[in-house]
Amino acid sequence: MDNRFPICQELCRQFGEAPFIFQDTRDDFPTVWVDPGQALDVLRYLKSGVERPYRMLYDLSAIDERLRKHRPAVPQGDFTLAYHLLSFERNEDIRIKVALTESSKMPSATGIWPAANWYEREAWDMFGIEFAGHPHLRRILMPPTWQGHPLRKDHPARATEMGPFTLPVAKERAEQEALRFHPEEWGMTRSSDSTDFMFLNMGPNHPSVHGVFRIALELDGEEIVDAVPDIGYHHRGAEKMAERQTWHTYIPYTDRIDYLGGVMNNLPYVLAVEKLAGIEVPERVKTIRVMLAELFRIASHLVFYGTMAQDVGALSPVFFMFTDRERVFDIVEAVCGGRMHPEWFRIGGVAQDLPRGWDGLVREFLDYLPPRLDEYDKLVMQNAIFKGRTQGVGCYGTEEAIEWGVTGAGLRATGMDWDFRKKRPYSGYEQFEFDIPIGRRGDCYDRCAVRVEEMRQSLRIVRQCLENMPAGPYKADHPLTTPPLKERTMHDIETLIAHFLGVSWGPVIPPGEAFVGIEATKGSNGYTLISDGSTAPYRVRIRTPSFPHLQMIPLLSRGAMVPDLVAILGSIDFVMADVDR
């Protein structure tokens, strides 16, 4: 038993010691193996029975264990299901794992958390794990006609392994027919006693669904009776790709998960790899990372701000805000060379040191943006029509938010001051002074207001980075730092060989499991990495904030009007790449 965590004793007191096996991971929280038959009882106890409960289902995913070489002393199965729970009262996580064989069924957790719905569909879609009692166990990311389960180790990862692709007319028709929306399948009726409903396809190409996202709406006039979101159009198999890339060459893929977040995506990944490898990075690296991540938070929030205003019909703000975002990109470009996807963080450091003159650029921007933000307050936030469109629209409370796995500004808008930068400081955030803006009503307006204030707080953080940038190396002196420091490579053969291997094969990360979650632009983004002692990850699980946020849409839109839905979508602030991965 793991004595570091009181929850382990509490579990044993409740259920006896027999059913539990405690796995040692590199995380700061317990991983507990449970028998499949007892898992739901344990989960239910953790959610509502235990003192200071684990109220949020933070993540739920699976692992295909069949090709694993380094297996810890835990129950052996073909697949593992991992439930990642979060307790706000304890400020602690717990991971509940269940071993399954290829033929075994798992009882569905949708009765405990509504948020489990999409996660279980994803696990079924990707691994073929069946959940007994799930209301709509069907594909969620892959097309309905897909054969096989992509994240299984025996499913090909490259198109070249799958034979040439053809699309004859008959197949094209069949594929299109498979996308047709059948209301009956979702328990909807085509008419009520008094009226016939109209079913409206919003998306996958629609101006205000922010990417390729489809919502099937059941309408009574312009009032939304029910909605069924349909995702997966932006699915690129980022988790599958990780299994064929090296630890180092996977970094560029992370940039493209939340494509407005830039290096913010690198951060949880490299932090998790560093945790597995045991790398401590120098202070200068931490501060550079924080500065760039906060600049990208500003850039992402500016896009949100402009498109939110555009969604409620204001044409101009988006131009102003994109212009400001260019200023951020000017700095990013000077430092990294890239703009939206700089791929700048490295395992154990950053790619290069800051260029000469970076401080001037940053200082100029810090003076430039605040007056602009004040102006936008008048243009957008104080506008009566904007208020009318967003206040009291798309409301949810803290309880609901936790139930559905909402993090980030969506959670803070309900009045809960939960920010991972403050609650679980990473990368040196504990050294910075900043406030956590919160809302009150949890409506579209508050979500917007929270983000606007967050930009000001990010500016504060960037200013502190500017004024206190520590001197020192931009890479950790560690054998697994990639690419390694090069000073001595031409002087002794050992360093040269180590460098050569690190650059050509990539680093070999010691076997183990680690999770790191950060406060990303749109909520909490977390990477769970499993290393099997190879140059490539065995499994990369990307927990993105937008995925659970979108799952809430039917709840928020029932009874609202079509324009309200547009405001709700805007205020959630999602990008489809972040949802589908």
């Binding site: 312009e222 019909g313 469109r389 009007m561 079509v562």
Partner: protein, 320 residues
């Protein structure tokens, strides 16, 4: 010059001027909005990008004239013609300057109101005939919005009719020699401007179109020249409303120092720019908020205005 030649010259001249202006407005709007949005707008084709309009026109004329197979063909084709036709008809009664203007009718104001009401048919029919759900929603919004705003539009002008004692637009202008009606009829002016934007379906009252919600609303299925007609119809409507505001509230062609025609054009131009600025500055209210605003705020306001104006006029006529 014979009288009929004069009339024909007037008709041809005004028709040409209005059509040319509405085309030019496309360029003007894009440049002005560009200016207000920190960007250039079209500035490549010809001097200041002026020939952009010509290029756009060539493009629109060259587009395939396509009718969706699921549409109601006859109505689908008719709808865009209606809007251009009725807005141009309404122009007939606008008194541009002494001696310039197509028709001088005793019921000019009523004719204008009637014609501008008819334009709603264009939008509703387009939405209905497209046989597209987004277009249908747009058409329904248009019907509700334009019918309700029609009511205040008419009522907001009755104060002027009382003051001028006539429906004849030339007499309305002449009676403003002592002072523009915008002062005594300020409430009427505000309501008329708001109703006017609603009539022309421009932001913040572009709900039938609402591209963030309804893709392109009632003209989702339209392309090529038919789409172009809706476009031109909107701009003619914009000129018409600006011209009517000037005629009714700002003394029409009256003014010192410049020829009457110049005064009229200058004032109208100012209002056109104002409408374009509105589009750059405001978000869009929700459909039900728009209706609430109309029936619960505008209607009482305009009725109050009517009652007060009536009382004042009556008091002025009473023998001392």
């Amino acid at each position: 010059m014979s009288e009929s030649a004069h009339a024909w010259l007037n008709i041809a001249g005004i028709l040409f001027a209005v059509l040319a202006l509405s085309a030019l407005l496309i360029w003007l709007e894009r440049r002005l909005i560009g200016l207000w949005q920190d960007r250039y707008g079209p500035n490549r084709v010809g001097p200041f990008g002026l020939l952009q309009v010509v290029a756009d026109m060539i493009k629109i004329f060259a587009k395939e004239d396509w009718v969706p197979p699921f549409a109601d063909k006859a109505v689908f084709v008719l709808a865009p013609a209606v809007i251009v036709l009725v807005t141009l008809m309404a122009f007939a009664v606008v008194p541009i300057a002494p001696g310039i203007g197509v028709a001088d009718m005793n019921i000019g104001l009523l004719f204008f109101l009637a014609m501008s009401s008819l334009s709603v048919y264009s939008v509703v029919l387009a939405g209905w005939a497209s046989n597209n759900k987004y277009a249908l929603l747009g058409g329904m919004r248009a019907a509700a919005q334009m019918l309700s705003y029609e009511v205040f539009m008419g009522l907001s002008l009755m104060g002027i009719v009382m003051l001028a004692g006539s429906f004849n637009l030339r007499e309305v202008v002449e009676s403003q020699r002592d002072g523009w009606y915008v002062v005594p009829q300020f409430i009427g002016f505000v309501v008329f401007v708001i109703a006017g934007i609603a009539e022309t379906r421009r932001l913040p009252f572009d709900l039938p179109e609402a591209e963030a919600e309804l893709v392109a609303g009632f003209h989702t299925e339209y392309s090529g020249l038919k789409f172009g007609l809706f476009f031109v119809g909107e701009y003619i409507g914009l000129i018409l409303i600006s011209a009517m505001i000037v005629t009714l509230f700002f003394g029409g062609w009256l003014g010192d120092g410049l020829p009457p025609l110049a005064w009229f054009c200058l004032k109208t131009f100012a209002f056109i720019c104002f409408f374009i600025l509105l589009r750059a500055a405001l978000p869009r209210p929700r459909y039900d908020q728009l209706m609430d605003y109309g029936w619960k705020a505008m209607l009482p306001l305009v009725l109050l205005n009517l009652a007060v104006t009536g009382a004042v006029v009556l008091a002025g006529r009473m023998p001392p």
